[in-house]
């Protein structure tokens, strides 16, 4: 082949051409993700129609919503037959929905403050990057929150706090004599301080006192939050103890834990609430009068501990045997090896499970409405829907409840997924 046969030889590279419109960009995305085949096309069209139906139904309802009237009848008057929500029930009854109908309204700042402080207290537990000093506040928070929500003299939570501190100091003092001895002495010290402090706080019941609010006045979403936070935090230590007991070599202790866990997990929460409501009183000393809220807290805590124990047991079982043997070969005793080697790893593995149980438990706090406590659901079903002004406002009220619970539970589960990614130590 001679040179003259070639009519044209390109010497420089052509610039790259953009891919055809159907092979890149939004069109390709739409083709691949929305219309990849006949079945998918039909499904996409159905989904679009479904979304259109929902939006076209909900938008006018939401946009035409009435926020300022004082009864459903007035709402209907304002709307003149047009579609529109009657959100006035929320603006008028927000306080009942959030705090119950008996909490004194001039004291609303107290649970609100406790709620805000809850975030400060929980933050260092949730985010390791925050300064560790904040944990001191977390330790103080239960006592502050108790004082804020229930009121009364500051001395009661103060005595409780001092008792725990004294107990811990005594524990540290005796720790060299063995874990069991130290723990026992610590408990004795705590009880002693509480007993003595009881006289002090009873004598000076006016010192730094907020208006006391009895437990039966708690209600609304606040009650759900109280039950959720208290029971989850109480059930963690009990759950750990139960899980360790179930793993124990001592048959009696093991069987006590197994029977307790399986019994609690086998019955619905509602039967346990029945126990709290009508049965528990028979088993308490004659003449004693426990708060219903306290009895409910006891039962829900038992319920949650059993579930958390199973989650932690899963974490304990997932640890390689070598970790236990390594702890033994270092010469650590049982308490030390658990505290320093086993539990930190096992708890880390079980975090997602614990979060799941907590979300489930928080949702289950609505069940207290069945035993006629006025939590958020109880408030909606009872006083608000039964009131003549608001009889028939279903969507707005239930929508509000759905939004509240969704925000809290979805937030927690998103946090747990984030944490799982943070804690991932293998194949990054």
């Amino acid at each position: 082949m001679s040179k003259s046969d070639i009519a044209f030889v390109r010497r420089e590279m052509l610039p790259e051409k953009a891919p055809p419109a159907t092979a890149a960009g939004p069109i390709k995305w739409v083709r691949d993700n929305l219309f990849p085949g006949p079945i998918n096309t039909v499904m996409t069209l159905l989904a679009i129609y479904f979304i259109y139906q929902i939006v076209s139904g909900a938008m006018p309802w939401f946009l035409n919503g009435v926020w300022t009237t004082s009864s459903l009848a007035e709402c209907r008057e304002v709307l003149q037959g047009a579609t529109g929500g009657c959100f006035s029930v929320l603006t008028e009854r927000w306080n009942q929905l959030l705090f119950g109908f008996q909490y004194p309204s001039e004291q609303y700042w107290r649970p609100t403050l406790a709620f805000v402080l809850l975030f400060v207290a929980v933050a260092p537990v949730l985010f390791v990057a925050l300064p560790r000093k904040l944990l001191i506040f977390t330790g103080l928070y239960p006592f502050i929150a108790f004082w804020l929500i229930w009121g009364g003299t500051l001395l009661v939570p103060l005595v409780a706090l001092i008792g725990l501190i004294v107990g811990y100091v005594v524990f540290l003092r005796f720790e060299t004599k063995g874990f069991a001895t130290a723990a026992l002495t610590g408990v004795v010290a705590v009880v002693l301080v509480w007993w003595l402090g009881g006289f002090v706080s009873a004598a000076a019941s006016e010192t730094l006192a907020l208006t006391p609010v009895p437990s039966r006045d708690m209600g609304g979403f606040m009650l759900n939050m109280i039950l959720g936070t208290v029971c989850v935090s109480l059930s963690l230590p009990f759950g750990i103890l139960l899980a360790l007991g179930r793993q124990s070599d001592m048959p009696i202790i093991k069987w006590i834990c197994v029977i307790f866990i399986e019994f609690i997990r086998g019955v619905p929460l509602i039967t346990l609430l029945f126990v709290a409501n009508v049965v528990l009183a028979y088993f308490l000393p004659p003449g004693s009068n426990f708060d219903l809220i306290l009895r409910v807290i006891i039962m829900i805590t038992m319920f949650a501990s059993a579930y958390i124990a199973e989650v932690i047991r899963g974490g304990l079982a997932a640890l390689p045997r070598g970790q236990y043997e390594a702890a033994d070969s270092l010469g650590l005793d049982y308490a030390q090896s658990m505290r320093l080697i086993i539990l930190p790893q096992a708890l880390k593995i079980s975090i997602p499970g614990i979060v799941n149980v907590s979300v489930g438990l928080f949702k289950d706090t609505t069940l207290v409405s069945v035993i006629s406590m006025f939590d958020l659901v109880g408030m909606i079903r009872g006083p608000i829907l039964a009131a003549t002004e608001w009889n028939g406002v279903y969507w707005e009220l239930w929508g509000f409840a759905v939004v509240l619970f969704f925000v809290v539970c979805y937030g927690i589960s998103q946090y747990s997924q984030w944490l799982e990614r943070q804690l991932q130590r293998d194949h990054r």
């Binding site: 998918n40 619905p268 759905v402 969704f406």
Partner: protein, 404 residues
């Protein structure tokens, strides 16, 4: 733990009970046992004292007394003169009914949603995850009450079906969805229907026999028999044939509007329908997650290996992916069934008369025998839980990877 034989001549001292690992576990167990007994003795003495003060006793005699209340939804004969025991049995059957139907519907919805969450269709995927997140993160009690309110308020009342230009109409003249409940046609079995039912049952057994035969053929001789269409044929053809041979002994009784309400057919109350539906779609959201996790857990290499062996896509699904995924899906699925059964106790919130509504509700209030009724209630649920976990253990042992 290795035990070291005690040095000779060492005498036993009391401090060894707590400091010597050989004796310490006995000490602890003894203390635990004593504490437990003390706790029970304390609770028991309180109970005895309280009962004496209130002039009560523990007795189950109330179970044989007439209940005196009516139950509107019942599967067996019951009237207000029946005993409390019979009322409880009606409740038990109602619980089992809603739990059983709920498990079926929840599985169907859950599997569909779980598979659709892995679809390549972006819109469907997002829609399904919105469904799952919304239902998982809101209490089931709220869903039950919402669906009850929707059914009661949104669906037409029976009176709306009246007249020539009625506001509402029945579906195929057979189904009526009203604010009071749903009305379905009821099959009426006349003489000669037994043989049709028996044929139907026999053909169902036949399907299983055929399937295991086909499986055996595949594994032993490598012959692949068609399974799907023969199964469908076996399911319908013999029963339909026998139905016509026996002279159509089964007919349908359709609900019809008489006066202000429907008569005839099967009437499922609002409370039952909303409880069933709410429990199903709530549990389905959890099942969908289990299904999705199970399918994702089968590694992609399995699909690719099967494809490189030349299997077609549906065979890959049936022979390679599903058997491995089911092993992961079924244990959490069964525990979701257990959850659904326990959640069905929320029936009391919508007035569906399950065991919690009869024994734990009206019987408790009428007789005041709190301890006995709550104990029976707990034992019932405990029995169901133990039965379901027994089934789960059997299954787990059956599908356990056979290791050497």
């Amino acid at each position: 733990m290795t035990s070291i034989s005690p040095p000779r001549g060492e005498s036993f001292t009391l401090s060894k009970l707590i400091n010597d690992t050989r004796y310490r576990s006995y000490t602890f167990q003894f203390i635990a046992l004593v504490l437990l007994i003390a706790l029970f003795a304390y609770l028991g003495s309180n109970l005895a004292q309280n009962l004496r003060d209130a002039g009560l006793n523990i007795s189950y005699g109330f179970l044989s007394e007439p209940a005196g209340y009516d139950i509107n939804q019942r599967l067996i004969e019951y009237d207000s003169q029946s005993t409390h025991l019979r009322a409880s049995i009606v409740g038990v059957l109602n619980t089992l009914l809603v739990a059983f139907l709920g498990c079926i519907l929840a599985t169907v919805i859950g599997v569909v949603v779980g598979v659709l969450r892995l679809s390549q269709n972006w819109l469907i995927r997002k829609l399904m995850s919105v469904y799952v997140e919304i239902f998982r993160n809101v209490p089931v009690l709220i869903w039950i009450l919402i669906i009850m309110a929707v059914f009661t308020a949104v669906l037409p009342q029976p009176r709306d079906f009246r007249g020539d230009d009625a506001e509402a109409s029945m579906l195929w003249d057979a189904f009526a969805f009203t604010g009071r409940g749903f009305y379905f046609p009821k099959p009426v079995f006349e003489t000669g229907s037994t043989i049709v039912v028996l044929t139907f049952l026999a053909s169902i057994i036949g399907i299983f026999v055929y399937r295991s035969y086909a499986r055996k053929q595949l594994f032993q001789k490598g012959r692949l028999l068609p399974v799907f269409w023969p199964s469908v044929g076996l399911f319908f053809v013999p029963a339909v044939l026998m139905f016509f041979i026996a002279g159509r002994p089964i007919s349908m009784e359709y609900p019809s509007l008489q006066g202000f309400n429907f008569q005839g057919g099967i009437y499922a109350r609002n409370s039952f329908i909303s409880l069933w539906f709410a429990l199903s779609i709530y549990t389905a959201a959890f099942i969908a997650e289990n299904v999705r996790a199970g399918i994702l857990a089968v590694s992609k290499g399995q699909t690719e290996a099967a494809a490189s062996l030349g299997l077609r896509p549906n065979r890959i699904m049936n022979l390679v992916i599903l058997p491995q995924a089911l092993r992961i899906i079924i244990p959490p699925l069964i525990s979701q069934y257990l959850n659904l059964t326990k959640n069905s106790s929320l029936a009391i919130a919508v007035g569906y008369m399950d065991i919690t509504g009869t024994l734990g509700g009206i019987t408790l209030n009428q007789t005041g025998r709190a301890i006995e009724t709550v104990l029976l209630l707990m034992l019932f649920y405990l029995a169901i839980s133990l039965a379901i976990s027994a089934v789960m253990n059997v299954y787990n042992n059956a599908v356990k990877l056979k290791e050497r």
